[in-house]
Point group: C2
Chain length 349, copies 2
DNA sequence: GTTAGCACTCAGATGCATTGAGTGCTAAAC
DNA sequence: GTTTAGCACTCAATGCATCTGAGTGCTAAC
């Protein structure tokens, strides 16, 4: 008998090799594979013997006798506790993640997103909603409200559009009369300016003019840019991709892939919705009627939504050509109608 | 030759029967099926003849010679244009939809939701995030800001917590001094009250005390309830279910179903995350180590996130037992860390 | 014009042989 | 004692042939 412990170094390396390989390939790992892929300096036969030991002590198992080995639950546990070392994420990656977490979505997008979710649930197919396009929107007014000695709430009133708010932390404490001064100055410079014209250059100009407050202003103005910048590009929100997979025609992985890829391509869906918006009517596209090759097994029902009689966006449902058209048409029309109404109510008179 | 048009009434009814049946069953429809299920008063043989005609004129097609018929694209088009009548949605249903569209999510939930999305993307598995639990939160201050003669912005400052804003449309126009009066009165009644105590009954009381403004108050107070009411129940947000399906172990529809159902059950996931939160440490649960039967083919990596050193929630990733543990552990830790930091910054000092 | 009867077709299920990846065991080599 | 080559053995996966049954089209009777 050897004095080796139950789990010597070589066994560890083999367990690691099996686990790593299986994690990557999802195929049972044989002794030859390990001998080839991992430079352990031992022959397949030796590895076989070790693997047999590892199986006996419960770290590996065999799906069937002539397959390779896979880690057992105990094997994974050992791997996690004693073998693996957590990979470290690059600094750049960390920053990117941080930034994404800090990003806030604009109100309009939230509504579009929620609408997509509702539509998907109601229809049991995939749904998408294009958020409103508002080309001619102007900044109607801007209001600064002191929440706290170091905290100011920026309120932006956009017409035709919405009220947006944003919190800004101030380094230096501002007195109320200072805030009022800044507030009225900003209004005099920004009132009735189209959002598309409010870029970094204009704001930098303003910051220079009011340079005594530049410290506070920079943060505020940056917030304004952030809120407004994305205000005039349309975005499409999708939901219910999972519903698609419930449909028997998409049982086969390939056909499901084709459809999901389709939904992934932004411009396909968004150009379809733009068409619908411009047409001003509910539209049903069946299979190859669409120009898109991958759409031959799908149908789409889409409808525009309007504010003050003007179409400003569109919603749609995608399902198999074998779709519950009657039901879906009713739902799409209903949701488009409601969405238009809700948006009209949010518009400042 | 008959004088009948290309598409007489009986053909229409048969096309309708085939389409309806196929929409519901996803199986090619045979003549016997139609004779049995739809009361057309004709025998299968007659239906066969009609179906042969419909196929010749392109409305139906056969996947293969000994299968039933299915509608062609042209068939669906005819069905949509001339046969189907859009079903109407019940009044009750309409209201329900309307209400869901009008609901707004609270800021905290949005952050949790976005975090889940990021985590799912980074890990390529399914991700979930429990939104922060804040049992002892109190209403620190309440601010009313006139945006417009008929529009008031309600600002709620919660400690420890967040700033929430809500727009209220006022029927009657309020003078600035009236608003200030209401504002200070509301503050005197609500300041430092735990959110859990601010219920409809307290607010109704206040409304009665200030009954000259009750019209405006009712809307405002309702908004407050809406914003705060759900403030102290934890919610779990999930994302990346689709990623799960990409894993080869979940190719089989049944096993995928099991996992997706698991993710659907709120309390399974949330109790797991609560455990993690209370443990205060990153946790790896492998296969049957969990008590849940359907989890035997999955692993979960979860970590708490903290504000001021106190765990207030948790995030997690679910994948097959064959999971990239090293990578996922790093990602989960990173995201939990960032989330805690971001939330601390949102807290009012 | 409608229907019953019947021969015919073909996808899908079932059963059986073949193949090959991978094992465990034995005995030789180190 | 440990490692390795050789070999018989196992069994999932694959390919192939057969069987079954749903559904058709055609013909002839009603």
């Amino acid at each position: 008998m050897s004095l080796r412990s139950n789990m010597d170094d070589r066994k560890k390396r083999i367990l690691q090799a099996v686990t790593d390989d299986y994690i990557n390939t999802a195929e049972p790992v044989g002794s030859r594979t390990i001998a080839r892929r991992y430079d352990l300096g031992i022959s397949p036969a030796t590895i076989r013997n070790e693997m047999a030991d590892l199986e006996e002590s419960g770290y590996l198992e065999q799906p069937h006798v002539s397959a390779g080995r896979i880690p057992s639950q105990k094997g994974y546990r050992f791997y996690v506790d004693f073998i693996m070392q957590t990979s470290n994420v690059s600094q750049k990656e960390k920053l990117r993640i941080r930034r994404r977490l800090e990003e806030r979505k604009r109100e309009l997008d939230l509504i579009a997103e929620e609408t997509a979710r509702i539509l998907a649930q109601l229809s049991s197919y995939a749904a998408f909603v294009m958020s409103p396009v508002s080309k001619a929107a102007v900044l109607k007014r801007l209001e600064l409200v002191q929440i706290d000695p170091h905290l100011v709430l920026v309120i932006l009133i956009v017409d035709p559009g919405f009220v947006k708010t944003h919190l800004v932390v101030t380094e230096r404490q501002l007195r109320p009369e200072q805030l009022i001064h800044i507030n009225s100055y900003l209004n005099s410079r920004l009132r009735d300016i189209p959002l598309s014209k409010i870029g970094t250059s204009l704001l930098r100009e303003i910051s220079a003019e009011l340079d005594e407050y530049s410290n506070f202003l920079d943060a505020t103005l940056e917030a304004i840019v952030q809120v407004l910048e994305r205000g005039h590009e349309e975005a499409v929100f999708t939901d219910g991709q999972l519903n698609i997979l419930e449909q028997p025609e998409f049982r086969e992985v390939e056909s499901a892939k084709r459809v999901l890829d389709l939904l992934g391509e932004d411009n396909t869906v968004s150009s379809l919705l733009l068409d619908t918006m411009n047409s001003g009517n509910i539209r049903i596209v069946i299979g190859r009627e669409s120009s898109h090759p991958n759409m031959d097994i799908c149908s789409v029902v889409s409808a525009p939504y309007e504010v003050d009689g003007v179409p400003i966006g569109a919603v749609g449902v995608l399902g198999p050509t074998r779709m519950h058209y009657a039901e879906v048409v009713a739902i799409v029309e209903l949701v488009a109608g409601h969405l238009g109404e809700i948006l009209s109510k949010m518009v400042i008179m």
